[in-house]
């Protein structure tokens, strides 16, 4: 909060560092949240919760080497925390649009793409989060470990299991086709 102990809601020229940050990064955070959750509404909620937390600890976030990485960490941990809290009382289904067969006008590999997306939704949250951070945000396993608050070995284990599951299910789908 700085020496004054207050959040810098606005500075003299009328700009607001927090607002600027949100304007710049919100869209990419929502996209990341969508890839992690597979649910547009849940992604919006997750980003909202993340930004509220970011606002409260803005002095810490803004002082970080990479505020965006710091906020991504908040988002990922918030997501895993949510999942823990909700796991006993809520079942998250894939968006209906995700279940619609690929349109014929799409690229030749679009059905595989859709299938991969749908299968991602069936993975445990940690495995899906690892894969999202690795293949969507292009983070190294070490950075993923930092973001999730786990060891790099755990990251590799989750990635390996997630990929193995996807591979097996994709093959099964092809065999059934």
């Amino acid at each position: 909060m700085g020496s004054s102990g207050r959040v810098p809601l606005a500075v003299a020229d009328g700009s607001d560092p927090f607002t600027d940050f949100v304007l710049e990064h919100r869209a990419s955070l929502v996209r990341l949240a969508y890839v992690i959750t597979g649910d547009a509404y849940l992604a919006e909620d997750l980003v909202q919760a993340t930004l509220l937390k970011t606002y409260r600890f803005w002095d810490r976030v803004s002082a970080a080497d990479s505020p965006r990485a710091y906020v991504r960490q908040i988002l990922v941990r918030e997501h895993l925390s949510w999942r823990r809290r909700m796991s006993s009382r809520e079942v998250v289904h894939p968006e209906p649009s995700n279940l619609v067969p690929a349109l014929a006008t799409e690229q030749p590999n679009s059905s595989d793409r859709e299938e991969a997306w749908n299968l991602l939704a069936t993975l445990p949250p940690k495995q899906r989060t690892v894969l999202a951070l690795r293949y969507f945000d292009d983070l190294s396993d070490e950075d993923i470990a930092t973001t999730m608050g786990v060891s790099a070995v755990t990251v590799r284990t989750n990635a390996s299991r997630g990929l193995a599951t996807l591979r097996a299910r994709l093959q099964q789908t092809k065999d059934n086709a």
């Binding site: 959040v7 809601l9 590999n109």
Partner: protein, 398 residues
């Protein structure tokens, strides 16, 4: 290896494609489970900022007098200049600065009162007096466009709690005069409302204090300019947050804890449980009281179902044993009307919950185990105890 590379490429393509094609969040969320309703795109910046301020800084000013509030002071204190919100965001607990020190409470003639303050305090009572020229006015809230040079004073009215010299605790109305931050407040108050959005908004509520501008053009009650969600604009909330104020009035409105209650350890008021519902009549006699010192709190209820404390005394183990000796004489009486009493006692102690006994009417006896008709002997004994406590004259003559 090639299979792995193909799968990884497929995942990259799938994630990228779906992130780009992510469904737009519609204007109103009609689907499932979330309690939070969101504003799409950049509008959420405003909501996020405003929401955080509202949650952490506006709520505490209306936390009113249960007698345990941190804002209670031993005496009335007008104090020196202080931030309107004595908050440390880093702590994030929303606690407010506690006033201290002394002066006599304002006399009833000085009451400054508005219906909005009353509603905020939840203590609307006949003691409230609407003055012809109050410092704070809740009437006709408006966007105030007043030049700084025309302003003679700005007052902020909100709720608080006060501990009097006799130990009683009162809910109060506090009138603060703004001493710093006037220009920012006026500037942000003069802004126009933003057009309301068709999009859904987050659902947090706002309780803003009454802010009255006294100027050469008259007395104006500030209506905060609102954002697209109809909530106070973040700039206005920031100006409110940064105000430095000086307390000029603190008016006790309603007692929430009497000195008698504090001295005796009894609750100031007690819900007359027997008048609320008629429990099933129990068979046999009530369970005996634990033979340890108990407290007997005496309440008087008039037309309401809430009794007000009129006396409180401790019962020795000998007195408790005597009461237990009378218990077998307590019987169920189908003709007994449990609402037929205006004076009742609550017996309570560390080893038990409570039992309630009517001292008039048919002397109904109620406990979590059931309801009986209290015997005349039990009522006579309890009345004798009250008379001999030195409080009997005050209680039983009422």
């Amino acid at each position: 290896m090639n299979e792995d590379r193909e799968l990884e490429d497929l995942l990259r393509a799938s994630m990228k494609h779906h992130a780009e094609q992510m469904p737009e969040i519609g204007s109103v969320r009609t689907r499932r489970r979330r309690t939070t309703v969101l504003v799409a795109a950049a509008a959420s910046v405003v909501v996020v900022a405003a929401g955080a301020v509202a949650l952490t800084s506006l709520a505490p000013i209306f936390s009113t007098g249960s007698g345990t509030s941190g804002s209670a002071s031993t005496h009335l204190d007008l104090g020196g200049p202080r931030p309107l919100f004595g908050l440390d965001f880093s702590a994030g607990d929303g606690s407010s600065a506690a006033p201290t020190s002394a002066a006599a409470p304002s006399s009833p003639d000085e009451l400054v009162w508005t219906p909005m303050v009353a509603a905020a305090l939840l203590t609307l009572s006949s003691k409230a007096v609407e003055k012809s020229t109050p410092l704070c006015s809740a009437a006709n809230p408006e966007h105030v466009n007043v030049a700084l040079s025309d302003v003679s004073a700005i007052y902020v009215c909100h709720g608080g709690s006060l501990t009097q010299e006799d130990g009683s605790v009162w809910s109060t109305v506090i009138v603060d005069q703004v001493v710093e931050g006037v220009a920012e407040l006026l500037e942000s108050s003069g802004r126009p409302d933003e057009p309301l959005t068709d999009l859904a908004c987050t659902a947090e509520g706002y309780l803003t204090p009454i802010i009255t501008v006294h100027s050469s053009s008259g007395v104006h009650n500030i209506a905060p300019p609102v954002d697209i969600c109809g909530k106070p604009q973040s700039r206005w909330l920031a100006a409110l947050h940064n105000l430095i104020v000086q307390k000029v009035r603190e008016i006790p409105i309603e007692m929430t804890q009497s000195s008698l209650a504090i001295d005796t350890g009894c609750s100031y008021q007690f819900k007359d449980m027997l008048t609320l519902e008629k429990p099933a009549k129990a068979k046999g006699s009530p369970d005996p009281l634990p033979e340890s010192p108990l407290t007997m709190c005496v309440y008087k209820s008039d037309s309401s179902d809430v009794g007000t404390l009129v006396a409180g005394l401790g019962l020795s183990t000998r007195a408790v044993a005597a009461i237990n000796g009378i218990y077998p004489k307590i019987e169920s009486d189908p003709e007994c009307d449990p609402t037929d009493h205006h004076l009742f006692v609550i017996l309570t102690g560390k080893m038990m919950g409570w039992v309630q006994i009517g001292l008039d009417g048919c002397g109904v006896f109620g406990s979590p185990g059931g309801m009986w008709s209290g015997s005349g002997e039990l009522r006579a004994y309890l009345t004798w105890l009250i008379q001999n406590s030195g409080q009997g004259k005050a209680v039983l003559s009422q």
